[in-house]
């Protein structure tokens, strides 16, 4: 029987871009059949960037869509939204985000979800934190000042609690590893993602644990989260898989760093 997760080391793509594109932040959005939602999300992020005078390019990563997502993105680009679309053959949110991060050529790179569960208004404060020398800014639904504009269902919350309890052994005092919004100094992100191996939803835990190992300067940013009823996360299938990925992440991290991880230098709430 095939193992559920194949042990695999990500190899740096020989086609990584190096030429700067002139944008300050590349915001990666992994997509799987988001034809209905991606158009509005792109427009809203662009509107926010213009309103707050931010230099943001959106990098959509197609993870195997069978709908018109690519068409909608092309239309958005025609209408003036700075957006590029690339694709990732390897299935999984982690694999898609990794592809986008490695493809990015801006000084800052981050990722968010296609369903706008994180409001675009946090992009400005996140960039401000990066400019003030934090290397990793972690969107959080649980730090002081955060909350749920639209709450999650009971079962999902229970699953999250169990996952958080297990993940905290790797991620340390970070209050929320699974919020879909994080931004990084590009060089840091590329180093973290190039050595990451989790392709599924639990990839954040591995990336943050690696950042802890490396003593990157991290900070949490409070998010007003709106839970999306049409999330592509399937509670049972993806939930079980995420727990297995956590185990895999743990093995992978122990293999890469024999010494115990140290506490992050700045993991306090930004309130």
């Amino acid at each position: 029987m095939k193992p559920i997760l194949e042990r695999r080391r990500y190899e740096r793509s020989p086609y990584e871009r190096t030429a700067p594109t002139g944008f300050e932040l590349d915001l990666v959005i992994p997509v799987l059949n988001e034809e209905q939602r991606i158009g509005l999300t792109l427009a809203d992020i662009h509107r926010e960037a213009v309103r707050s005078d931010l230099s943001v390019q959106i990098l959509v990563v197609d993870n195997g869509c069978v709908d018109g997502t690519a068409e909608v993105v092309a239309q958005a680009k025609e209408s003036g939204v700075p957006v590029e679309i690339i694709s990732c053959r390897m299935r999984g949110k982690g694999a898609a985000v990794r592809t986008g991060v490695l493809w990015s050529a801006a000084p800052y790179v981050g990722y968010t979800d296609a369903d706008q569960s994180t409001p675009p208004s946090v992009i400005g404060p996140a960039i401000a934190l990066l400019r003030s020398d934090f290397e990793v800014v972690i969107g959080s639904r649980r730090c002081t000042g955060a909350g749920y504009a639209v709450p999650q269902g009971g079962m999902r919350r229970l699953g999250s609690f169990a996952f958080r309890t297990m993940a905290s052994r790797l991620s340390g005092p970070i209050t929320d590893t699974q919020c879909g919004f994080k931004v990084f100094h590009s060089q840091v992100a590329k180093e973290l993602f190039a050595t990451s191996s989790i392709d599924g939803f639990a990839f954040d835990v591995e990336v943050l644990a690696r950042a802890r190992q490396r003593n990157n300067r991290m900070i949490e940013l409070p998010i007003q989260w709106s839970d999306s009823p049409e999330s592509s996360f399937r509670p049972v299938t993806d939930g079980v898989r995420s727990f297995l990925e956590l185990r895999e992440a743990r093995r992978s991290l122990l293999g890469s760093a024999p010494s115990a991880p140290s506490a992050p230098s700045a993991a306090a709430g930004s309130s």
Binding site: G64, C65, V66, G68, A70, I86, S87, C88, R91
Partner: protein, 495 residues
């Protein structure tokens, strides 16, 4: 699977619930017949397994292929399986045409025999329209879970990107999928100037008169437009259960003289009428692809339809016809399109694009691609399950100026990729490649790193239209859009 194997020819079996002689035959039957005929022309022995038709023989040879008719609407399925089981040693490949319920042919043939399920459209919502609640539930189960259990990872051919979307998302089928639009037999009308359209606005609609096609809404729209177009004509070509109701509606709305119901016409008569149309309208709830759209386009007639499955793939909005958004009424949209067509030069440009777009869809092309996929499936099954390549639904379109082609050698791609030259560019659709691995595929095909990194080379995620037509889509939709009054009307339609 190769033609001319051993002592005889390779034998391809096509299973379909009806054949062309069935009174209710439609597009799916035409596809099966055209594939059968085309395969025979390429040296294959072809058998079409289908249901009995009153007055027709249970076995006959038509155009070189054999038709075996057994069973009725429901019993044709066990009959076909029994035939395959009996002949399993002499079957080299199967095209299993699914019309709601697939034939489950993998149950009856050897595990290494390649089977391609051919899906026209997804029927999950239609079972309830035709059957009792229990029977509808069984039908939905067979199309979805039953098919998933039996076909597992076997490859699937779909007639449009919309059907692929339904098969993957609604049916949850697992096999590798190839989109192959059907061809058309209608002649492509020669260049503009030859067009003999009617002097006054005329709409011709071709298709079965059944509830699913919503022809009544077109008749209703005509009634609303008479103030704007007092000499408007609507011609309906086709038969079906809705005919009496449509005739009553025509009389009740006082449209006698404006609406003519012709019934079924011979192809030559149908084409002679269709080419006089200003516009064709398809108000259907959805199609697999839209054979009638392509037939109208071939005669230079644009088609207006709602943005619904299949139709959104066969119509290029503003280029070869118009797509109306779901929540919009039909009459204003048709009226705007007729106003656009009233402009002779606009009509001629539209007609030219429609002909250009439709002329690429041929039965020969469809047969070539289906056979290529059948061979690829045979190759896949020849490996043990652990050795089989993983696949993805992604595809990448690469456009390379021809001056960057490697000197002295012809670039070679996989048989299931598509490769064509258009407007001084080599256009390649790389199936299963993402935008990163596309570069590796180009290297393998013989391109140097310098050529691949050339700034004129475009590497883009394939859109649904690229799966249908990677080269022509660029030529048609890449045409600059003039901001004319007609253009603004188009935008009003889209909005």
């Amino acid at each position: 699977m190769t033609a001319g194997r051993g002592s005889g020819h390779a034998r391809v079996v096509i299973t379909n619930w009806r054949d062309r002689k069935h009174p209710d035959a439609g597009g799916a039957e035409e596809v099966c017949e055209q594939l059968a005929r085309n395969f025979v022309g390429r040296g294959y022995e072809v058998v079409l397994l289908t249901s009995s038709v009153a007055g027709e023989r249970s076995r006959e040879v038509v155009d070189g292929y054999s038709i075996v008719r057994r069973g009725g609407r429901f019993t044709v399925y066990p009959w076909a399986l029994a035939w395959l089981l009996w002949n399993r040693g002499r079957v080299d490949g199967i095209i299993d045409s699914q019309n709601g319920i697939p034939f489950f042919t993998p149950l009856a043939v050897r595990s290494k025999t390649p089977v391609l399920m051919l899906i026209h459209h997804v029927h999950q919502d239609q079972f309830a329209l035709y059957f009792s609640p229990l029977a509808a539930k069984v039908g939905r189960w067979l199309e979805r879970r039953g098919a998933r259990l039996v076909y597992r990872n076997r490859s699937i051919v779909l007639v449009s990107p919309s059907t692929r979307h339904g098969a993957r998302r609604r049916l949850g089928l697992k096999g590798e999928m190839l989109v192959v639009p059907p061809g058309s037999e209608s002649p492509v009308l020669p260049l503009p100037g030859h067009q003999v359209r009617a002097d006054h606005p005329r709409i011709v609609c071709v298709g079965r008169l059944s509830p699913h096609k919503r022809t009544a809404s077109v008749v209703g729209a005509v009634a609303e437009m008479l103030d704007d177009f007092p000499d408007l004509e609507l011609h309906l070509v086709g038969e079906g259960p809705d005919r009496p109701a449509l005739e009553r509606m025509t009389a009740d709305l006082g449209l006698v003289g404006h609406v003519t119901i012709h019934g079924a016409l011979a192809p030559s008569e149908r084409d002679a009428l269709l080419r006089t149309a200003w516009l064709s309208v398809n108000a259907s709830e959805g199609e697999g692809w839209g054979l009638t759209v392509i037939e109208a386009n071939r005669l230079g007639v644009p088609v207006l339809a709602y943005r619904r499955p299949g139709l959104k793939d066969s119509i290029r909005h503003g280029e070869t016809g118009w797509l109306v958004e779901e929540d919009r009424p039909l009459a204003p949209a048709v009226s705007a399109a007729l106003h656009a067509m009233a402009d002779r030069s606009e009509a001629e440009a539209m007609g030219t694009r429609a002909r250009q777009w439709s002329s690429q869809f041929t039965w020969d092309e469809m047969a070539t691609r289906v056979l290529t996929m059948l061979r690829a499936e045979a190759g896949r099954l020849a490996h043990s399950p652990d050795e089989r390549r993983t696949f993805t639904d992604l595809a990448t379109v690469v456009r390379i100026p021809v001056d960057l082609l490697p000197e002295g050698e012809v670039p070679t791609f996989r048989s299931t990729d598509r490769c064509m030259v258009s407007d001084g560019e080599l256009v390649v659709l790389l199936r299963g490649a993402d935008t990163q691995t596309a570069r590796i595929a180009l290297r393998r095909a013989g391109f140097s790193s310098a050529a691949i990194d050339d700034e004129r080379v475009q590497i883009a995620v394939a859109r649904p239209v690229d799966l249908v037509s990677p080269a022509v889509s660029a030529a048609v939709s890449g045409a600059p859009r003039a901001v004319t009054a007609a253009g603004r009307r188009e935008d009003a339609l889209a909005g």
